[in-house]
Structures are given as C-alpha cells and as structure tokens.
C-alpha cells in the first residue's frame, strides 16, 4: 500500500502529537479541530477518535495510544486510516519517539 511508503505514514510504532497550531473543541459527535495558522476548520466525527488523538502526545507510540483508548485489533486499520488523513491535513505531526 502506498500509504506505508510515504514518509509521513502513520504507523503503530511511530510517535505523533496534535500539531502546535491546532486546538480541539469537544462536541457531541466528536470534536472540531481548528488550525490557527491555516484558519482551517476540520471535524473529527467520532468521540473514540478524539480520545485517540488526545492520547497521542502522552503515549510513546500510536499503538500505545490506540491501546489507551481501548481500540480493538479489528478496529485498528480504520483508526490508522483516520489518523493518516489527519496527518495529511497537518492536524497531527510526527515527533521524536
């Protein structure tokens, strides 16, 4: 899959965090994400995804963040794809593990 070969691919062993210019606002359906630099508003459409994103910065890896948010093995590909799209939009950024 090409996703795994791009340098910014979100892998379970990678370490990520919410981008510095982005803030999340909780909402009943998930959260709003606003990037103060690009002035772009995005929507996270599941509270569970919001929990994963919040867990990213405090966990040593994406996999650990998925564990922390109780994401099952069967759901992982879906969550990794969602994180990948957040990465593509600049909402989360890779950090040193």
């Amino acid at each position: 899959m090409s996703m795994l070969t791009t340098p910014l691919a979100v892998r379970e062993e990678g370490a990520w965090q919410l981008s510095g210019s982005v803030e999340l606002r909780p909402e009943p359906f998930g959260a709003l994400a606003y990037d103060f630099h690009t002035r772009r508003l995005s929507f996270l459409k599941s509270p569970a995804l919001v929990a994963v994103v919040h867990a990213l910065s405090g966990c040593p890896s994406v996999g650990a963040a998925l564990d922390a948010a109780s994401v099952t093995d069967a759901e992982r590909p879906t969550y990794l794809a969602a994180l990948q799209s957040l990465a593509a939009g600049g909402l989360i950024q890779e950090r040193a593990a």
């Binding site: 803030e23 606002r25 909780p26 909402e27 009943p28 359906f29 709003l32 606003y34 103060f36 630099h37 002035r39 508003l41 929507f43 459409k45 599941s46």
Partner: protein, 415 residues
C-alpha cells in the same frame, strides 16, 4: 411573538453525516457574527442591520472584553466582526488586539474607508486577523448605487493598501443583486488582481434589505446563472454557505447546505442581544442577551428558541419536495421577512414553489438605527427606487401582485 412552529424534540443520531449532526446544534457556534456597533459612516440601501446611528446602550469596552473572554472559554476559535462599520468604534483596534491575544481569531467586515497604509501594515503583520472588504458592484456605477457615493473608490484604496502591505487572501465580499450578477467574472478579476479571495453572499430581505428586496433580488434566470457560475468556480469562491437554496438545481454547492441558525451560527448585536443568525435581527429570533446571568454561554446552550431550532424540520410543504434534501427549504430569514411560512418554500425557491403562495403581511422591523438626516456618502440612484419614507415606515406595493414575484405571474418576463 411565536412565528416558529414548535418542532417535536428528537434525539441526536449517532454517527452519520455531519450535516445531520449540525441540525441538532453544537456546544458552541462555529460561525459567530458580532456586530460591534450600529454606527456607520454609510447608508447602504440593503443594510441587514438597518445601521447608521450608534445605539447609546452599546456594549462598553470592558463588556466587549468580557465577552471575548467568554468566547475563549467556549473555544470559539474565530469570530466575524461587523456592524455598522466596526472601525468607527474608537476602541475597535484595541478590541481586535485583545481578541487576538486571547486566541480568538477575527475576520472583520469593513467598507474600507479607514484601512489606510498604516493600518494595512499592522493587519498584514498578524496571522489571526482577516479582513473582508464590502463591494457590491464591479464598477463604481453599480456599487455606488447601493453603497453610496465614493464607496467604490474607498474599497479600491483599501485593497491597494492591503496588497502593498503584503496582506494575502483578504476577502472581497459581494452581496449578489440583480445589477451585479452580470459582473461575476469582473469581480473575480478584481479579486485576482489584488491577491484577494472572492466571497459572494445572498441578498436578504432583512433590515433595509426588505425595502429594496423586490427591486434588487436576482431574477430567476440570474439565479441559474449564479448557480452555474458557482459550480464552475467550485471552492475557489467563498459563499458562507449562502446559496444552499440553489442546490435544488442539481449538484450541491460546496459547503454544508444547511440553515445553521441557532445550530452552528448566531449573531451578537451591539447591545448584546443574541439572534439566531445575522439575517434575522428581529424579536422573533432573539434568544437572549449576553448581559443576562450566565452570559452568552447560557443563551447559546439553553434558550428556548435555539433548542427549538435544533430540531430537524419535520412538517410543511417543503418536506414533500424532491429537492428538500439538497435545499432544506432555504433561508428562514428570507421566508420570515417576506411574509412566507417558515416551513414552506424560500421566496427564491428555484422550483418556483413560492410563486403560488400567498404572501402574508411582511413583519415590521423590531429595530432601526438608520440615519435620519443626510449622509455624506449617500447611495447614487441607478435604477433603484428605495421605498423607505422619511418616517421610517415601509412603503409597500399597493397590491402584492403589482411587483411581487411570489404571488402571481412572472413579472420579470414582462419588465
């Protein structure tokens, strides 16, 4: 006054489309407009807020700052500031800095008169501020007929200053009228020339707009022209989701295609009254005041009006129409101010469903801050004939059938 039909309360669905989620409202608005003052150096014919004179009860500087603090607490990431002309408030620049310092981004609308070289340089220096220049004609003739003598030149001067200061992607905001729809390509060329982004919005029969609605709202064939132009230009042109009623032509326009009033949108007026949307400054759509106990947060979360609006429309003629899923019945304010039922078609329904409806008495305005004397930059008549009289009462056609496109026939085909 209860023009709103009570809607049955239903539970928010889990998951699904965002637009369905938005119908049930959010914990804080996405698009909050704050009219800072009713004072204005101009007297535009179609002013949504009937601005002109400052209201003596206007929020003080300290009250404005407290409101910005509240926006910050509610994580309202950015606000749209308008008026009136916001820059005539002596504390405008102070409030702008205060908002930016408190992590509340600002886009403000201005006629450009006060955007001199020095201001333009300061604006260009901050990321959190965006500027929107109002321009309602691509030529001085068309623009000044609505906005006033010298306003075209003032807008161009402001844009030159901002471009020279290195400001990129500021907005040029156009209210689409019968007279400027033939100029869409020219507007785009102006925006491209100044490195700006074009924003087109819908004329609303709100405020003084009610007085000129029959003369200025786009003709049916122009609506189609506008729709085709918007589809061709895609998301390069902003619309503030203004034209979702046109989505009934076919392909949906970019955006939410939803009436966000009280759900994701609201307006705070200069005296702190909170209305469901910027086009609905009327007691019927007033949810409360930020000065009341609990402030804006409580108004947004608990007002009866907003809770009622956060229920999907379930009844009415429109829900039976094949286009309902795309146009959602159109604009609540446009219906209200033209005397149409709120659960019926938009006055500019592209299926023509409003043509055969009897239009009720248009509601009187709840407030009017229009200038009462002469104004230096008064509109320059083109072919327009504002019907407002000196006493402020609304001049209406003797018979609705004479001029209204809503009731009988198709007057535009013979005129």
């Amino acid at each position: 006054m209860t023009a709103l039909q009570e809607r049955p309360f239903t539970d928010r669905p889990e998951g699904g489309r965002l637009v369905d989620q938005f119908e049930y409202g959010l914990d804080a608005p996405i698009c909050l407009t704050w009219e800072l003052t009713y004072a204005c150096n101009l007297a535009c014919l179609h002013c949504l807020s009937s601005s002109g004179r400052r209201d003596p009860d206007e929020l003080s500087t300290e009250e404005c700052k407290a409101l910005i603090d509240e926006f910050e607490r509610m994580q309202i990431f950015y606000i749209n500031i308008g008026g009136g002309e916001p820059t005539v408030r002596p504390d405008f620049w102070e409030l702008l800095d205060y908002a930016v310092d408190h992590h509340v981004g600002v886009k403000f609308s201005t006629n450009g008169f006060r955007i001199n070289e020095e201001r333009a340089a300061k604006l260009a220096a901050t990321d959190y501020v965006d500027v929107q220049i109002s321009l309602d004609g691509a030529t001085a003739e068309v623009n000044d007929a609505v906005r006033g003598a010298g306003t075209y030149d003032a807008a161009m001067r402001a844009m030159t200053n901002m471009q020279n200061a290195g400001m990129k992607d500021f907005k040029i905001s156009v209210v689409c009228t019968r007279h400027n729809i033939p100029q869409l390509d020219e507007f785009k060329a102006i925006a491209d020339k100044y490195g700006a982004q074009l924003r087109l919005t819908r004329l609303r029969p709100s405020g003084r707009g009610a007085d000129v609605w029959d003369d200025l709202h786009p003709l049916p064939e122009q609506q189609r022209e506008l729709y085709d132009w918007l589809i061709a230009n895609g998301d390069k042109v902003l619309t503030g989701d203004s034209f979702f009623h046109l989505s009934a032509y076919g392909e949906a326009l970019p955006g939410l295609n939803l009436c966000g009033a009280g759900r994701v949108v609201c307006l705070v007026d200069p005296v702190g009254d909170v209305y469901a949307c910027p086009f609905a400054i009327h007691d019927t759509f007033k949810a409360g005041n930020v000065r009341s106990e609990g402030g804006f947060d409580t108004v947004w979360k608990t007002s009866d009006l907003f809770l009622d609006l956060r229920n999907p429309q379930t009844g009415g003629a429109c829900t039976k129409c094949s286009a309902f899923d795309s146009c959602r019945g159109g604009c609540m304010a446009a219906k209200f101010f033209t005397g149409l039922p709120l659960d019926g078609p938009d006055p500019e329904c592209v299926k023509g469903n409003a043509e055969f409806l009897e239009r009720g008495e248009a509601p009187d305005s709840s407030q009017d801050h229009s200038h009462t004397g002469t104004v230096r930059n008064a509109p320059v008549p083109l072919v327009l004939s504002p019907t407002r009289t000196a006493s402020g009462t609304r001049g209406r056609p003797a018979s609705a059938c004479d001029e209204s496109p809503l009731v009988t026939g198709r007057p535009w085909e013979t005129s």
